[in-house]
Assembly symmetry: C2
Homo-oligomer: 118 residues x 2
DNA sequence: CGGAATCCCATGGGATACTG
DNA sequence: CAGTATCCCATGGGATTCCG
C-alpha cells in the first residue's frame, strides 16, 4: 500500500498515516482481538476463524514492525508465543471502538437509528 | 474484500461490517474529503492527488451503492456532477476523525505522547 | 505449537487514451 | 467536465504442506 506524499486536504494528513498502519481487513481484526488482552498465536488463529497462517503471521509481523505489539517467545516445549499490544497499539482502541459502534448501528437491514434509540 | 461469516470475538462484529464499507485507502480518503462538504468530481480528483479516474469513479460508485453519498448530475454544459454525503455517510465522521487524530499524534518520528501532552 | 515455504487467485489501483 | 475503456501490475490473502 505504497504512496508518495500526502496530497489531500491537509498535507501530511493523519488519516493517510493511519491507513498505512491499520489498512487491511485482518490487521484491524487482529488489533481488535488484542485490545481484549494478550493472545497466543493459536488464540488469534482460532478467534479470527478463516485466516491463513501466512496472512496472520504477515500481519503480526507488520504490526510488530510498526511498534504496535510485542512478540514474546517463551522458551518451553511446546513453544508458546504471546502477542501483546504496546501502549502505542492500545491507542488505536478509540478507532476500533468507533468502527465497532458504527458497524453495529448501521446494519444493512435498516434498523439503524431505531436500534440506537431503543 | 469478501468474507464469510463473522468468526471473531463477537459474532456479527460491527468492526467487520465497517471494514467492508470503508475498507481501502481511497475510500476513506474520499470520505474525509466529502466530510468537508459537497465536492465535484474534479475537486476530488485534484484534492486526492494521484488517484486514477478509474479508481476514483469505482470508489464513488461503491460509496453510492452503500448509501453513503448521493451523486447529483446537473444537466448543463459543461457537465457538472456533485457528490454529497448522506447522513449515513456523515455518521462515519467519528471514525475518520479518530483516524486523523491518531495519525497526527503518532507520527513516525516519535514526538507522539509528548505532542499530546503539549 | 508456531510458524515457514510454496503456489495461486482476486482485487485494488495505476497509466493512458478516448468520448458524450 | 466527467467519466469510460483497456491493459497491466502489486499486494493482500487463501490453501496446503512441511518443519523445529
Amino acid at each position: 500500500m505504497k504512496y508518495g506524499r500526502a496530497a489531500s486536504s491537509g498535507p501530511e494528513c493523519g488519516v493517510e498515516r493511519t491507513l498505512t498502519v491499520i489498512g487491511g481487513k485482518w490487521t484491524t481484526l487482529v488489533l481488535r482481538e488484542l485490545l481484549a488482552g494478550t493472545r497466543r498465536y493459536s488464540d488469534l488463529k482460532r478467534a479470527l476463524g478463516r485466516v491463513s497462517p501466512k496472512t496472520l503471521t504477515e500481519r503480526l509481523r507488520h504490526l510488530e514492525a510498526e511498534g504496535l505489539l510485542t512478540r514474546t517467545v517463551h522458551a518451553e516445549v511446546p513453544p508458546r508465543v504471546e502477542y501483546t499490544l504496546t501502549p502505542h497499539g492500545e491507542s488505536l482502541g478509540e478507532i476500533i471502538a468507533a468502527m465497532g459502534r458504527w458497524g453495529a448501528a448501521h446494519r444493512p437491514a435498516g434498523a439503524t437509528a431505531e436500534a440506537e434509540r431503543a
